[in-house]
């Protein structure tokens, strides 16, 4: 084993300050570039010489300036950093529309089996029959849960799935001589990705207003429909946490006008095993495996967004797709000569997420998934019932699905905003709910507890939320406008960060 022969500099500007008042278990952690050294390494490799014969004139001259850390230094750096993060494993994570449910560790164990982790995507097909089997089984579960007959597995995230579904719709219109259709209808409550996806494909986005009860106005849809409308992008259950009761009418009207129904499946967790989107008349819907099927969010990805497709859109699905033959599974990797709209990524999609999601499904079974959806809805309604007296829930007179929505009218006149309220939750040990989304209510607070939370955890959360609301109303503004005071850092200057972007470390 080679040992580092040069110690790291202990110049005063390179060590963490002492006497800073940092909390004992959460000291500030310097940047890797401040503690590492280009002469340290946590990997033992022989140092061999190579000549330039095969490198042309392209040998690297520019210094890499990449600091290294020995293994103990490295371990400490990333363990210390990790402790500055909130996580589902440490607490309730009520982010509406994000479905922060428990991530079973069996999923991680299965994804790490060498038979899945150490397999190349371009090995001969005869040597990867198990991997193709996973894709095929997962596809079967997704199609059964949605009552559809095709699924495109390769999209890498929800927004990539939207792109997939909308590209299939565009291809289908082009194939039937309807390529002139250039409008996509998007309800105002939609996720930002919906209009961004439609615009990406060159569509004009026409917003559809919501009714006062938070659901989409069918007559507004009917009015907006024309021979130029390609599709509607509708989230169901919607982002106010409500099931769209007129969904079938909307689907029928859109189909009658020659358009397709893209369903944003971000909120599928509320209805899996209870309602099948295929029965609602959808033509395409992405399923966020990282939400509904518990693949980890990982601090912001990787996601996975397979898209189920109706019979009308299935012929336009992207490559690759797995098929069964007499010799086992085969992969169709080329769109030439068929109507596939093309390819969305190299290789087969988020395989590591497929193994995790399939493990999750097998663990639950059909009955367990149905129970999970019902518990998710029960938990959200329980919180709604507990919070209703102090919060202002614009659609509170009807049951919600998996998430409950408050606006900020209960804070009126208190001097406390939704943002302040969220930051005060941090001091109470909670990650805030989704705030200022959906855009259709003022100062939105969207709370999604998921099925993973026990009654004890829900009661503790409700107690904290009620206490905060009462405190705001009682005029204890200090508790909010200065919050958080107990987190590793106080509020950060986001405006300054955007005005003078510092996007990398420099000496």
């Amino acid at each position: 084993m080679s040992m580092n022969s040069v110690g790291r500099s202990t110049k005063s500007d390179q060590v963490a300050p002492s006497g800073s008042g940092d909390c004992s278990l959460l000291p500030a952690e310097p940047l890797l570039f401040e503690i590492g050294s280009t002469e340290h390494s946590g990997v033992d490799l022989p140092d061999i010489e190579v000549d330039d014969k095969r490198l042309g004139n392209f040998r690297r001259q520019t210094p890499l300036e990449l600091p290294g850390l020995s293994e103990p230094e490295n371990m400490r750096h990333y363990v210390r950093l990790s402790r500055l993060n909130y996580s589902i494993d440490a607490g309730l994570y009520p982010l509406g529309s994000c479905t922060m449910k428990h991530n079973p560790r069996l999923n991680e164990k299965m994804a790490r089996l060498p038979g899945f982790a150490d397999v190349h995507p371009l090995q001969p097909v005869s040597t990867v029959q198990g991997a193709l089997g996973v894709i095929s089984e997962l596809a079967h579960w997704l199609m059964t849960l949605t009552n559809t007959s095709a699924v495109a597995m390769s999209p890498k995230a929800g927004a990539h799935g939207e792109m997939c579904g909308m590209m299939a719709i565009k291809a289908a219109h082009a194939a039937s001589g309807q390529g002139h259709r250039n409008i996509v209808l998007v309800p105002e409550s939609a996720h930002g990705t919906n209009p961004a996806t439609a615009a990406f494909l060159g569509y004009k986005v026409v917003p559809i207003p919501a009714k006062s009860d938070g659901t989409v106005d069918v007559s507004a849809v009917e009015e907006a429909l024309s021979a130029d409308v390609a599709a509607i992008m509708l989230t169901n259950p919607n982002t106010c946490g409500l099931f769209e009761p007129d969904v079938k009418k909307i689907a029928d009207a859109v189909h009658k006008a020659g358009g397709y129904f893209y369903c944003d499946g971000a909120n599928f967790n509320a209805i899996m095993g209870v309602i099948r989107p295929g029965d609602l008349g959808i033509d395409a819907m992405h399923i966020n495996l990282h939400k509904t099927f518990s693949t980890p969010h990982g601090g912001g990805g990787p996601g996975a967004g397979p898209v189920v497709l109706s019979d009308a859109l299935a012929p336009f699905a992207p490559v690759p797709f797995v098929q069964k033959s007499n010799e086992g599974f085969v992969v169709e990797e080329h769109g030439d000569g068929n109507s596939s709209f093309g390819r969305l990524c190299a290789f087969h999609g988020q395989m590591g997420m497929f193994t995790r999601a399939l493990t999750y499904m097998l663990s639950h079974g059909g009955d367990g998934l149905t129970q999970a959806a019902k518990d998710a809805v029960l938990n959200a309604n329980y919180l709604k019932a507990r919070l209703q007296e102090e919060f202002s829930m614009p659609y509170g007179d009807q049951p919600c699905m998996h998430e409950t929505l408050s606006d900020d009218s209960f804070l009126e006149g208190t001097g406390v905003t939704t943002l302040d309220f969220a930051k005060a939750m941090i001091d109470e040990g909670y990650h805030p709910m989704t705030m200022y989304f959906p855009l259709v209510v003022h100062g939105a607070m969207l709370i999604e507890p998921t099925e993973s939370e026990s009654l004890y955890a829900l009661d503790a959360f409700a107690q904290t939320m009620l206490d905060l609301a009462k405190s705001a109303k009682a005029g204890d503004v200090e508790r909010f406008v200065n919050a958080p005071t107990k987190a590793p850092l106080r509020r950060l200057d986001e405006t300054g960060a955007a005005r003078n972007p510092v996007l990398k470390w420099s000496k």
Binding site: L55, F58, L64, S87, D118
Partner: protein, 452 residues
């Protein structure tokens, strides 16, 4: 069900608080005919050991990289990942955190992303990098859209050395529009893309080392592009190469995109991987994807936040630079941990070992009758022409438990001139024994009667 905490008594208690008798009442807004009447037709709840047995049986049907000699690359590389990387990324605080939208309780993820961005900028020789993309292929497509926004021009030249699946992704993202010019497959890396650059060209996109392994003169390409006001996009699918070959940014590249899988991330049958995207500071407002920036908290302490989000879909909706809504956080973390373990010294050593193994293999391949090595330059991957159909040769070798590289025809079917080509890769995991086994088996397959 082990993941669902409630007892029936607790469910009843909760229903009482809500003031209803049954959970079904919560679905009252759903029209009756839209609800499933029968239980869904799927197997029931399974204990852990049964799920393990089921998944284990599927895994056992795959031939793993360690089961025998292995020479496949082509955009995904079999490198060793230090044990501590996988341990660290499974910590709850990394694995089960959300996107760092609440910076006060997400400084771990944010600081890591800031370090990641810095590492990618240094590796590629660029001024700024984002917090990662889905993978290399989608990064390449997004880079082209970015170049079009930046130059307000349409024409794009794609080099014939680009990974064929990357080319197909770009075609799909651009709906194969009239501005896209794809050069023919270019196994020897000699096609003259430079002469096609004109005043309408938004960007040229060149992979180096390219799909066939050839290294390209980035400086000459950059100079030619810039002379016409076009941008140069460089694609790197084997990021370890930048430990030994010059940083594209130092040679004039305007956007560098890459696949970061080689650092920290297993082959995993193709994903999830981590897309890299780096550019010049002056183009930052046209960049897609998340960016992490340094700032201070209200007490003046250094901290990090997601920034410049006015480019992004959740703020700009239909006017966003991209519809992308995520990055590859956990894969970026694995990349960053692995690279910080290596450091400059480790990465250089690793790159040299990779290259030396490829040199060794190339020498041996050239000695085999019926094999021609096409490359004059390469890093850890090169192309051979064999005197028989490459697909049949690779399948025959797979029958001898040797995964002998990628027959180009798998990705470029129906192209006669590519039918006999195989792309071979080595890494630090390639042993002399592996090379000997391949040489002996390939010699036998090419000389024997096993194939017509």
């Amino acid at each position: 069900m082990r993941y669902l905490p409630h007892s029936e008594a607790e469910r009843k208690k909760m229903l009482d608080v809500i003031g209803i008798d049954s959970v079904d009442e919560l679905f009252a807004t759903v029209p009756k005919e839209l609800k499933l009447r029968e239980p869904i037709d799927l197997p029931p709840t399974s204990p852990e050991f049964e799920v393990e047995a089921h998944m284990g049986a599927l895994a056992a049907k795959n031939r793993t990289g360690s089961d025998g000699p292995f020479f496949i690359g082509a955009g995904a590389y079999r490198h060793h990942v230090p044990a501590s990387v996988d341990h660290l990324i499974q910590r709850s605080e990394w694995l089960t955190a959300y996107t760092p939208y609440q910076p006060e309780i997400s400084q771990g993820t944010l600081q890591m992303l800031f370090e990641f961005q810095t590492q990618v900028a240094h590796l590629t020789g660029m001024e700024v990098a984002n917090a990662s993309m889905y993978d290399g292929s989608t990064s390449a497509a997004e880079a082209i859209l970015m170049a079009r926004r930046q130059t307000r021009r349409k024409k794009i030249l794609l080099s014939g050395g680009l990974h064929p699946q990357y080319r197909d992704v770009i075609k799909t993202y651009l709906s194969a529009d009239e501005g896209l010019v794809c050069f023919d497959a270019d196994p020897k890396g000699t096609a003259q893309i430079i002469t096609e650059i004109d005043n309408d060209t938004a960007a040229i996109l060149v992979q180096t080392p390219d799909f066939y392994g050839n290294l390209h003169d980035i400086k000459a390409l950059a100079d030619a592009a810039h002379e016409k006001g076009a941008l140069l996009i460089v694609v790197v699918t084997e990021i370890i190469a930048l430990g030994l070959i010059e940083a594209p940014g130092a040679l004039g590249a305007d956007i560098v995109v890459g696949e970061g899988q080689s650092l920290g991330n297993p082959l995993g049958f193709g994903g999830p991987y981590v897309g890299l995207l780096a550019t010049r500071s002056k183009f930052v407002r046209q960049m897609p994807g998340r960016l992490c920036g340094q700032t201070v908290d209200s007490e003046g302490r250094r901290g990090f936040v997601l920034t410049l989000s006015t480019r992004e879909q959740h703020i700009r909706r239909e006017k966003a630079t991209s519809n992308i809504c995520t990055n590859a956080g956990l894969c970026a973390l694995a990349f960053s941990i692995h690279l910080s373990l290596l450091g400059e010294m480790g990465l250089q050593k690793l790159a040299k070992i990779n290259h030396a193994n490829a040199c060794k293999l190339a020498v041996e391949m050239a000695k085999i009758s019926g094999v021609e090595v096409l490359n004059s330059t390469f890093f850890n991957e090169f192309t051979i022409r064999v005197n028989k159909d490459a697909n049949s040769v690779v399948n025959a070798l797979a029958g001898k438990n040797i995964l002998a590289g990628l027959p180009v025809s798998r990705l470029e079917p129906a192209k006669k001139d590519l039918e006999n080509l195989i792309v071979l890769a080595t890494t630090e995991l390639t042993s002399s024994g592996d090379i000997e086994a391949l040489v002996s088996a390939l010699t036998s397959v090419l000389s024997g009667e096993e194939l017509s």
